[in-house]
Structures are given as C-alpha cells and as structure tokens.
C-alpha cells in the first residue's frame, strides 16, 4: 500500500533529565499535508519532544528522519535549515521593529544591506499562497496578539518551513481569531505542509487535526486515527489514563451580595480603562466575566484585587466599603485573589514554594510576630497545604519555579482558600493547565460555592465559563455590555456580545 513518505519521522526518541524520563521510545510521524495533534497532560513530554525536534535538546537515543533521510538537529539553525518552523506559546518578536524587519532578522542581506525588496516579494508570495495578510511596515508593538501569532507563522514560512509546530496556539486567541487561524492552517496543509498542533482543548483538536498522537508519562499512550469521530471523553481518557467526568454544578441558593462594584471607572494607565462598571456577586454564586482579552479585564481584576485604585465609583466587600484599595485592605475584608499570571504576579519562582504560599499574609499573626518570622508555622502551613491539595513537589523548600503550572495553580488556590475568603476573584484559572489539574480547580470552586463563597471568574474560555458560572457578564471596551444567566447563555450568544454587537442590557 503506497503511502507518501513521511515529511518527518521521529523514531525511538528517549530523553532523560536526571532520573526523570521525559521521553521514552517515542515514535511520531507527520505526512505532507497532514495536521497532527500532539496531546498529553502537562509533564507528559510534549514540550521535550518538540524541543528535541527543534534542536534545543539532544536526545539520549533515537533518530529523526526528514523525507526518509536521517538528519541530526543540534540547534534551532539546523531545524530551520531542515524546514522545521516552530511557533512558541510566547512569541519571539522584537516589538519595536516592523513586521518586515522581524522577518528579516537573521536573514543575510545583499552586500551588507537589508534586502527589503526581496523580503516584500516573499511576503506577498506567502500572502497569495496562504492568505496570511500583514502590513509589513507596522511595528510589532502595534499588532494584536492574533496578528503577532500570524507573524510568527509567516516568519516560519518565510524561512522555508515545510513542517510547522504550533504550541498551544489558541490559548491566546479570541474565538473569532481561532477560526481564522484554523482556516489558515487548513489551507497550508492543503498545499502540502505538515503541521503539528499541540493543544489541551480537545474540541479544537477534533475540529482541526487529521490524526493524533497522545503522550502520557513520556511514552506514546495511543494514537487516534479519526479525531473528528472520536469523542473528547475517549481522548481525555487516553491522556489521563482514567475517565474524566465534567464537574456537575448543582442548583445554587445565592445569599446576600458579598462583592459589589458601583460605577467603577479607571483612567487609561496601561491597557483598557474601566468605564462605569457595576456588578455584584452573591454568596454561593459564581459570576463569570467573559470578553476578548484586552477589553478591561485586567483593570477589573486589579481594582478588585486592590492593586489599582479606581478614579470613580465604590466597591464593597461583605458589606464593608473599600476605602484604600490596597492588597492588605481587600484581603483583610475577606477577599481571596488569584492572579492571571502565576509566574510573574503570583509567585516568586526563585524562592522556596513556602515563601510564595505565605507571601500575601506574611505580616499577619499566622506567620510572624513583632517583625520576626515564624519559620515553623510557615513550614507547617506549606506542608499542610501541599498535602491537602496534592501539590506534587519534593517539599515546601522546593524552588517554586520548579513546579508545573497545575501544581503552581493549586498552590495559589491553597494560599487563598486556607483563609476561608468570603469572595474569590480569579483570572484565567485554568489557562495552560491540563484536564486533570483544571478539573481539580473547578471542583474546588464548586466546593467553595457550596460553602457560600462568592466567586468571580475572569476568563476567555467560554466553555469553561458556561460549565462553572451561574451568571456571565460580558466586557467590551471597558464596559459590562450585558449579563446572562448561564441557562440562557450559549457560546454563540456570548461570542456576539464579546464583539460589542449587543447593546446594554
């Protein structure tokens, strides 16, 4: 049976870090014109495998073939020369340079001068072939996140990539942008490119890919030959090794309002300002805040968390008026906070995990007295939370940065929930987490809801919000454009409101 020679084939790839086998005899192949989904929980070895393919790590064993020829890839330059392009989750762009200049970085010019005409011609060709449009003279800092991603893809194609690796490309995109990305990827595949698509979102994988390879604990756990006709549950089971049941949100009996915002406005400081935002969360209720990123969610989270004072409006926590908008004040009134960016805002990656777990309350009697730390209390607290939340780490003195995203999020959740908050504000609670960890976080939210905590979830993943929330408010350009009971809400309706199409309600 004649099958086309695989564009790329990895055979028996093994890579260990100390005692940890990140990849163990992994085989993977992509044919020309094929979109391969690469699935696996965090720590399953997807990133290591792709880093081996892209030349960042040398495998301990195993071989890589390109169109049947064995190749050795020891640097990203080798990978690029072999026609492999990678779009990382975090973009590698120079924000002050223009689109064209970013494309020409590292490309030899003509007699020491930048080959502008040649670059423009190549860019036009890529636009014609794949419909990827970009203004060559705009600085990268003026591009939206979706456009920056498009630029990363164009950059790979610009360098002659025949295989494109995308690491969780949809995590940063709005629903409409996801559609655009998918149609571009499909057109690229139709022209013979190979694509490796890494994602946690099974519905996207089912919609886009032709075939999937699933990793678990560094090994190939299984392959899916017909993702479109395979259920998400079956795929999730391959990834986790056990069945995953979505959390069930029981009926709620909301109590009194525990958090109210009344006419909150902020000045344009960084990002979109809030304009006259009013909302309230009741005890035992989960309120979702949906919206395309950059529509004021960050400012909203900052105001509620006490890291930014509004210019106008009032806020109450558990009936008490917030006057100073400091982290310590909102915390003392009973607010728990989980920031959007775990690594930069939530934790101190270079210090022991225990330090991060007590950071917001270090000055309280629980962890210090008269300016002296209580090291035993700090350690005991961290150990208890590590146990209670099943945070996988060698111990409380482990460097926080060594933990996986899911475990870090558990640690951040633990440090707040341990103090029984009356209100909890979280941004992007499960971004970048695998199914198992996300499931754990969701269950905790529902537990807290049952205990009468009011929760406000700021997120972009509509499916997640629909599962979790009792009500969903939609933000657009710094305003709340409407609030729906989740019974009335659908992805389509929310998506429409997110574009500002539906007026005030």
């Amino acid at each position: 049976m004649p099958t086309p020679a695989p564009l790329i084939e990895m055979r028996g790839i093994t890579k260990s870090f100390g005692a940890v086998k990140a990849n163990e005899v992994v085989d993977l192949s992509v044919a020309p014109g094929e979109i391969l989904g690469l699935l696996g929980e965090n720590g399953a070895g997807k990133t290591t495998l792709m880093n081996v393919l892209f030349g960042a790590y040398a495998p301990d064993a195993g071989e890589i073939f390109i169109q049947g020829q064995p190749v050795r890839i020891t640097s990203s330059a080798d990978a690029l020369a072999a026609g492999i392009g990678m779009v990382h989750q975090h973009f590698h762009l120079a924000p002050r340079l223009t689109v064209l200049e970013n494309l020409l970085i590292g490309i030899p010019g003509r007699s020491g001068r930048i080959d502008r005409a040649g670059g423009l011609a190549r860019l036009a060709e890529i636009r014609r072939q794949h419909g990827l449009t970009l203004d060559p003279d705009l600085p990268v800092s003026a591009l939206s996140v979706g456009e920056q991603q498009r630029l990363e893809i164009v950059k790979a194609l610009f360098r002659g990539a025949r295989l494109l690796i995308l690491d969780e490309p949809t995590a940063v995109l709005a629903p409409t942008e996801v559609d655009g990305l998918f149609s571009a990827l499909r057109s690229m595949a139709a022209q013979g490119l190979g694509i490796i698509f890494i994602s946690h979102k099974l519905n996207e994988v089912r919609a886009l890919t032709h075939r999937c390879t699933v990793l678990r604990h560094g090994r190939v756990a299984g392959r899916v030959d017909d993702p479109a006709n395979t259920t998400s549950a079956a795929m999730a089971q391959l990834m986790c090794g056990h069945e995953i049941v979505p959390p069930a949100r029981g009926p709620s009996t909301p109590g009194a309002a525990v958090l109210t915002l009344d006419g909150i406005s902020t000045s344009q400081h960084s990002g979109t300002a809030l304009r006259d935002v009013s909302l309230s969360v009741r005890a035992g209720e989960i309120l979702g805040i949906a919206g395309v990123s950059g529509n004021g969610q960050r400012a909203l989270a900052e105001v509620i968390s006490g890291t930014r004072a509004p210019d106008a409006g009032r806020m109450t926590i558990a009936g008490q008026k917030v006057s100073g908008f400091s982290p310590r004040e909102v915390q003392a009134l009973g607010l728990g906070r989980i920031p959007e960016d775990r690594m930069t805002t939530g934790l101190v990656t270079n210090l022991p995990l225990a330090d991060s777990m007590v950071l917001p309350r270090i000055g309280t009697a629980a962890f210090s007295s008269k300016g002296l730390l209580k090291p035993d209390a700090i350690r005991a607290f961290a150990e208890a939370q590590i146990k209670a939340y099943d945070i996988r780490c060698p111990g409380p003195m482990t460097r926080a940065g060594a933990l996986s995203g899911g475990n870090l999020q558990k640690a951040l959740l633990a440090r707040e929930l341990a103090f029984d908050p009356k209100v909890l504000v979280v941004s992007q609670p499960t971004r970048g987490l695998d199914i198992g960890a996300a499931r754990f976080i969701h269950e905790k939210f529902l537990d807290m809801r049952a205990k009468g905590c009011g929760i406000i979830v700021i997120g972009e993943d509509l499916e997640e919000l629909l599962v979790l929330c009792d009500r969903i408010a939609v933000m657009y350009e710094g305003r709340i454009v409407g609030t729906l009971d989740s019974a009335d809400a659908t992805v389509a309706r929310l998506g429409l409101m997110m574009t500002g199409a539906e007026g005030h309600s």
Binding site: G306, G346, V348, L351, D355
Partner: protein, 351 residues
C-alpha cells in the same frame, strides 16, 4: 561540541564549591602574570600565604583588613538581595569615616564617643545611600549609575574638606585632625592592631543573616528582589522596602568607615580606603549574597591584599597583582554562577 542546558535544580554543595572553584581558577589565571613578572608562581603564592595567614600576627593584620570588607560586603549583599544595585559602598564608607571622625574629635567619655561615632557614621552612610534609592523610587533613575557616580562626589568633597577647612593645622598635611585618644577603639591583643571594630564586624555578619532569613523585613527584601511584581501583588510596599534596604546597606558601609577611623587611622585622609567599597562587591558575589559567607570571602580578599605587599617585596612582582586577583575573582565568580542555572552537556558525541 558542548552546549549549555537549563538546570532544573541546583545541588546544595554548589554554594561552597562555586566560590572555591572561582578562587582556584583565579589563582591559575593570575599565575601567568606572576610568571611574566619573572617570579616563581608557587614561591609567590607561598609568600602571599605566609605573609597573610602564616602566623598569628599575620592573621591579625589580615583580620584588620577584612573588617571593613565584611561591612561593605554585607552592605552590598543586603542591597543586591533586594536588587538595589548599590555600587556606592565606597562613598558611603567615606561619609561614615568623615562623620565618625568629626564626632570622635569632640571630647567626651570614650565609650560614649565610640557609640556616637558608630551612630554618626552609620547615619552618614545611610544618608548617602538614600540618594540613589530615592532617585530610583521617585524618578526611575538607574541606581547603578547614580550610586557609582556618587562615589566620586563624596571622594572629592572629602578631599576639599581635608585640603581646606578641615586640614590638620598641626601637621600641615591634607589630613583631618585626629580623634580624641579616648575615642580610639581598644586593641584586643597586645602588640597587634586587632581592634574592637573587627569583633563588631564578625558579629554583624550573623546579625544581618538573621535579619535577612528570620525577619519580615528580610522576607520582604528577598521577595522584592526576586519578583517585585509578585511582592506588590502580595501587599508589600516595594518602594518602602527599597528605601529601607538602602538605609541598611548605607549604614553598614558607613560602619566600615567608622572602624577605619576608630581602630586603624584615627583620622581621615584621602587614601583611608584602598577601594574597600568596591571590594565589597567582590566579597558579596563570592559569598553568593549570603551574609555568613561574607566573612570568609572578606578574609580571602584581605589575605590577598596583605599577602600581595609581602610578595611584592620578596619576589618583585608588583603589588598591583592584588587588584588583578580581585578583579579576576569577580569575573570567575560571575562565570561560575552560570553553572547554578545551566549545565554543560556534550552533544554530538553519542552516536
């Protein structure tokens, strides 16, 4: 072919091994210079060692030199923990020396004079460190540049003082009048220069260690240094922490100057510090910013300084070698620190 790979964890023994590795590399690198100067490498290092640590008197001399560098080393270590880049320990030391000399020249009972000298010197050092810290907190001025440049300002202000209004009328040299005899720090061992200030320096190290590791201020300093954004989110007043750190750092550097005035020179002259403030940076880096590590690191540099003079006399190698060793040790340590975050892998060999 070799390449650097990111480490997931750093073994604990690295804390000791890295400085030793850096020092070994330094001695090997500098042996070339000794050979160029026409001396035997082992002989030169041998003289350096015996002259600095070979007998009890040599050891006391080395300790006298180590004391100011323990203080400046602590000053830099504390500041760098908070990522307040204080390159100004030299100027803060000089300010501390001037202030303590001024107080020490006022007749009063000895113990009171010593206490007030310490207070005045620490306050002067802190006041100088406050300048770059305030500029950074209020106006986002780069603290490396401002604290470094301030050293020259203080140095020339001191020169202007001792060449002008403060010139010792008795000797006629550009030196300040001496402090009162009663304010001279007591000598602890007859026939040596080992003074009270050396003991204070040795006590200061564990005190600062305790402050960094066991107090809420120390916690805030560490967290602010490692991640100011997380610190702010966690309710820490980052600006306030930076100012407190600067005051503490400047006070420690000021105490280095107090010790030199009260225990060694008893007056202020233009060369009261042979760059102890800058050496403090080397000391702090060798100590990996650990206050307890500052003591051995300072003793090492002090031994190099004392030993270099004897080596120069015995072998003819210029005593400037001491500065070369210091500079090389700093560079070697900075390279060695790379291994805490990365490891070297051989690639391409396995096949």
């Amino acid at each position: 072919m070799f390449r650097l790979e990111v480490r997931t964890s750093t073994p604990a023994w690295f804390n000791l091994a890295l400085p030793l590795l850096a020092i070994a590399a330094t001695l090997v690198l500098c042996s070339g210079l000794i050979a160029l100067a026409g001396a035997g490498v082992l002989e030169a290092y041998g003289v350096m060692f015996t002259a600095s640590l070979g007998d009890s008197y040599a050891i006391t001399e080395t300790m006298v030199r180590a004391a100011p560098m323990i203080f400046t080393g602590l000053a830099v270590a504390v500041a760098f923990r908070a990522k307040f880049w204080n390159i100004g320990a030299e100027g803060q030391l000089l300010a501390g020396a001037v202030a303590s000399c001024f107080v020490g020249a006022i007749p009063m009972p000895g113990p009171l004079a010593m206490l007030l000298m310490a207070v005045a010197g620490a306050a002067a050092g802190a006041a100088v460190a406050l300048v770059p810290a305030t500029l950074r907190v209020k106006f986002k001025v780069d603290d490396v540049v401002s604290s470094l440049l301030l050293n020259s300002v203080i140095y020339y202000a001191l020169m202007a003082l001792i060449e002008g209004p403060w010139k010792d009328s008795f000797s006629g040299y550009p030196i300040s009048p001496p402090i009162e005899d009663s304010a001279n720090f007591p000598v602890l061992l007859e026939g040596t220069r080992l003074h009270l200030g050396v003991v204070v320096a040795l006590i200061a190290a564990p005190v600062i260690w305790f402050l960094i590791v066991r107090t809420t201020l120390g916690f805030r300093i560490r967290v602010t240094g490692e991640n100011p954004e997380a610190a702010r989110y966690g309710g820490i007043h980052v600006e306030r922490v930076l100012i407190s750190t600067a005051l503490l750092s400047g006070a420690l550097a000021g105490l280095a100057g107090v010790g030199e005035v009260g225990g060694v020179h008893f007056q202020v002259m233009s060369d009261i510090s042979p760059g102890y403030g800058y050496s403090g940076i080397v000391v702090a880096m060798l100590a990996r910013l650990n206050p307890l590590g500052v003591v051995p690191a300072a003793i090492f540099l002090a031994a190099v300084m004392t030993g270099a003079e004897a080596m120069s006399r015995a072998t003819g190698v210029p005593a400037f070698l001491s500065d070369v060793i210091q500079g090389t040790a700093l560079l070697a340590m900075l390279v060695a620190l790379l291994f805490t975050a990365y490891r070297i892998r051989r690639v391409g060999a396995a096949r």
